[in-house]
Structure formats: structure tokens, C-alpha cells
Assembly symmetry: C2
Homo-oligomer: 306 residues x 2
């Protein structure tokens, strides 16, 4: 692996940025990595654990002289941050991001990008239910996808350089347009998260009735939902507010299907249920074959739950 950018600035120091930093170091992908976080407590934590070569106290200082600036803040904060840093960007630099939605980020950020600076949105499909500067680890992106969403007229050389950077981080890289990205992610990530949050919320109401039994007897299914529903609240609020259209569309289809299965339960239509459950099993096999998960049973918990 060798250096792809001279200086990289990470704006926002949560799970994604901290994982990027450790991965950049592992691969020797940048000469220097600066970092900035809005919260003083986060900056202090970053300094204490050696996260970033230099933690800066302002966005301006962090982006100054950077060849790549990566916005790693919640989607709703990207516009204001882009505005704040605009005047301090180096000519010829690339601005990118790691947001889970792309149309809204492009609308919010693109107007602030000065002439002579490249803007290449990106979305690494990786994460865990933990958040904050101490939750990162270098392997987070290994063999995961990173989707680049270049805007019209993007400079091919700048795109190629960003691709090399993400490949150095360990990802498989593909390009996609913003509309399509937002729809695919509404299916594979956003709607499932909303559903998991909802189910855990229902159980929370019931928990008061059943005196802790929901937690105590938390079985496969619910237990797994709680993990998904433990993800960062600010990030997910912004995802739903900014990918509203696609999420509502997929939610509509979900409700339609759920009502059909609910009706099958009510009427006792076992054949419909059995056929449905057989079909969904095949998708699981597809995901394992595509190398996006392991075949180890029960999330690999089987022999090791402490």
C-alpha cells in the first residue's frame, strides 16, 4: 500500500471517521491526517487515544492544506459544515463524505463547493451499533462496499484517486447515481432500521407491563432487533428526514406485505405462510454466496456468548 493523498482531513470523529483513521494508518494512505469534532469532549478523547495525527479546534484549521476532506458528520449537519469550511479549502482539493443518503447531501453541500475544488460524494456500507471516537477499528471496511456517487462533470482523475483511497482502506468500490443509491439503501438499510426501532419501541411499552421479562427472555429475533435499534439516534434521525421519499415508498410496500401475512395468520392460510418463508430463505443463501455475511449460526454467537 502507498500514500494516496498528502493530507486528509476528517470532519466529525465518530465510528466511521475513527475507523477510517486507523485504516489509513494501517495502509499508509496519507502523509498526515487532521481531525475536527464540534464537541470539545470528543476532541479531548481523540487526543487522549491518539486518534488523528493532529486534532484541530476549528474546521478551518483542519481543512487547511488538505488534499482530501471527508465530512463524517450526521447528514443534517453537512450543509452548515460545508459552508463553514468553503473559504479555507485548498485549490484542487477533493471534498467527499460518508453519509447514508446521497441526494440530500448533494443538495446541501454542492452549492458551497468553490470553483476548482472537486466534490465526490461517497458512502461506505459499513458500521456497527456503537458510536463515538472510541468505537472505531481498522478492519471495519474490509471487504465491504463503498459506493461513489460522482456528480455530473466530475473529474475522472479525482474520482480515480478517491477510488484508490477507499480500496486502500479495504473496500470494494462501485459507482452509482444518487437517486438509485437512495432507493437501494432504503431497502437494504433504512427501512429495516426503522422497523427494528419500532419493534423495540413496542416491547419497551410492554416491558413496563411485564416487569423486565422482555429483556430477560429476549430471544433470537427481538435480541437481534435491539442491536440494530441501538445505532446512533442523531445519524438515523437525519437519514429518515433526508431520505424521506424512498423510505416512505418502501414502508408502503412493507405494510402491504405485512397485512397480507397478517391476514394469512388470521384466516389460517398455512400454505401462504410456508411458501413465503421458503422464498425468503433463498435470499439468505444469496447473501452468504456474495460474501456479505458468514454462514456461522446465530450471528456466530453459538459457542461464545458470555
Amino acid at each position: 500500500m502507498s500514500q494516496v493523498y498528502g493530507r486528509v482531513a476528517l470532519i466529525g470523529l465518530g465510528l466511521i471517521a475513527s475507523s477510517m483513521y486507523w485504516s489509513i494508518k494501517r495502509g499508509g494512505l496519507a502523509g498526515e491526517v487532521t481531525g475536527f469534532a464540534r464537541s470539545e469532549a470528543t476532541r479531548e478523547t481523540a487526543r487522549r487515544i491518539g486518534l488523528c495525527d493532529r486534532v484541530c479546534d476549528s474546521v478551518a484549521e483542519a481543512v487547511e492544506g488538505a488534499d482530501l476532506v471527508v465530512l463524517c458528520v450526521p447528514v443534517g449537519a453537512m450543509g452548515p459544515v460545508a459552508e463553514e469550511m468553503a473559504l479555507h479549502l485548498k485549490a484542487g482539493a477533493t471534498v467527499s463524505d460518508v453519509g447514508s443518503v446521497k441526494k440530500a447531501v448533494i443538495e446541501a453541500v454542492a452549492p458551497h463547493i468553490p470553483e476548482g475544488v472537486h466534490f465526490i460524494p461517497a458512502h461506505p456500507l459499513a458500521g456497527t451499533e456503537h458510536s463515538g471516537p472510541e468505537s472505531g477499528f481498522a478492519e471495519l471496511f474490509d471487504n465491504r462496499w463503498c459506493l461513489l456517487v460522482p456528480v455530473e462533470g466530475a473529474d475522472p482523475a479525482a474520482v480515480a484517486q478517491l477510488r484508490a483511497f477507499w480500496e486502500g482502506i479495504g473496500s470494494n468500490v462501485e459507482e452509482m447515481d444518487a437517486d438509485h443509491h437512495d432507493l437501494v439503501l432504503a431497502v437494504t438499510s433504512h427501512t429495516p432500521h426503522l422497523i427494528a426501532y419500532t419493534m423495540v419501541g413496542v416491547a419497551d411499552d410492554l416491558r413496563r407491563v411485564t416487569d423486565g421479562e422482555v429483556i430477560k427472555y429476549s430471544a433470537a429475533g427481538f435480541r437481534d432487533f435491539t442491536r440494530i435499534a441501538a445505532s446512533d439516534p442523531t445519524m438515523w434521525r437525519d437519514v429518515f428526514l433526508t431520505n424521506k421519499e424512498a423510505t416512505l415508498e418502501i414502508l408502503g410496500r412493507f405494510t402491504e406485505e405485512l397485512f397480507a401475512l397478517q391476514r394469512a395468520i388470521r384466516t389460517g392460510d398455512g400454505d401462504l405462510l410456508h411458501d413465503y418463508f421458503t422464498r425468503t430463505r433463498a435470499i439468505r443463501r444469496g447473501i452468504i454466496q456474495a460474501g456479505q455475511d458468514t454462514a456461522a449460526p446465530d450471528f456466530g454467537r453459538g459457542k461464545s456468548v458470555k
Copy 2:
């Protein structure tokens, strides 16, 4: 550990029965374990891999002389199997089961239990998305709950013996009544499974449109749902058909909550979403503190996805 029953008969040789067998052997909990499966192919597999001390070709042969008979067939098959074995049960024997619902099992099985035989329903809260005789492993029940649901007038000594058996298998044992069991499980397991099946079904429709992208870019959330939705179709069909009332009740609450969140997305009510997502995070912490899951990120996949 020492012997709890002289002879144990396992009826049905899938994930649960095969895990029980390996665990019984690990703990030396029975003098002999017989096994029966309806399918000849399953019996052949069991013989090939050494599952059960003796694989029998009929229910009658398997239960003859058994001190404990455990029904490990799908819930919908339990009534007919109980009827078939009734005349062959040893006086003073205990009949139990591992079904995910309890009211329907009691209604189906109890009428067939002869005078002088104990019937003590049970439900080990453990499983994986894999099924069949080759999917079992001795550690499946370690530190998981097993709920005993004794019917009115159950013999305390017989209940104590079954408790000792499940503790020997590695479980924590509690008693619960059937109605309450079915409601708690509708929340912690049955409804989450139906929701996961539904979401994966929606994606399957969409997959045809997006040419495999749903699988390719399967991210946290959906990927985890596919694991849950890969569970045994027959078992789950029977669960929903036999725990209809509680599942429909919880589904009603789920839909109500989902519509509230959907409305918040549509109207842009970020505070409601943020509050909701913060509340669900606390439940996750409760589950980890209760020892029912690990705190390792992303289902422990972080550093090891192949």
C-alpha cells in the same frame, strides 16, 4: 453432572433435538437416548453422524421404556404424534416438548396423555437459523432460558426432575403459565420473525427490479433480517397459526407505532424520531447487562467476516 433419567426419547431430530442429544452426552444426563424422525432420510443421517444411541423406525419403539419423552417436532405435528405414542408410554414417564407456543401444544397433546404419565410442557429459548439433524451442537442451550409450563396439578417431583435435566443441559430454568408465555414470546420472538420475513419478502420483489443489488449491497439491518428470515419455514408457519391471538395483538401495536413514526418522517418531526431512537438504545444495554447477548459490535462480525 450425573444421570437424571434412565432413558430419554427424542421425537423429531432437527436442530433442537440434535443439540439436546450432544448436550445430554456432554453432561451424562441419561443412560440411553433413543431417537425417531418421520423422514427416512433424517433417520439415515442421524445414524451416519451418530446422533442418538439408537435411532428407531417407529414412534412406538422409540418411546418404549423411556422415562422422558421429548416432542421436538413442529407444533402442528405434536397432537398426532402424541396420539400415536400414547399406548406405548411407560407408567410414570414424563412427556415434554420444546414447542415455541404453549397453549396450543397443551390443547393438542394433553388429551392423549394416559393416566399415570406426567405431562410437563417446556420451551428452551434457543435456536439458530439453521435446521435439520446436522445443525445441532452441545452448547446451544448454555446460559439460555428454558421455560417450564406445568399444567395444573403437575407432580412436583416430576417437574423438579425435568428442571434438573434442563439445568444439566446448560439452561437457566423458570416456570411460567401458558397464556403469559405465549404473550411474552409473541413480543420477543414471534412478531420480530414475522417482520423480518416480511422485509426480506419486500426486498425479494424489489430484487427482480434492481438485478441483485439488494443482495450485493446488503448492509447492516437487512443482512441481519435475512438471517432471522432463514429460519425453518414449517416451524414458523406452525408458530403463527398456533399463537395467532397474541401475535395479532402485538402486530396491531407494532403497526400503530410504525404509522406514528412514518407520520413523523412525513411531517419532518425530527425530535420525535430522535427521542424514540434514544429510548430504544437503553433496551439494548439492558439485554447486555442481563447476559443475553455480547457487547461485541456488529454481531461480532467486525474483524472476522469471510
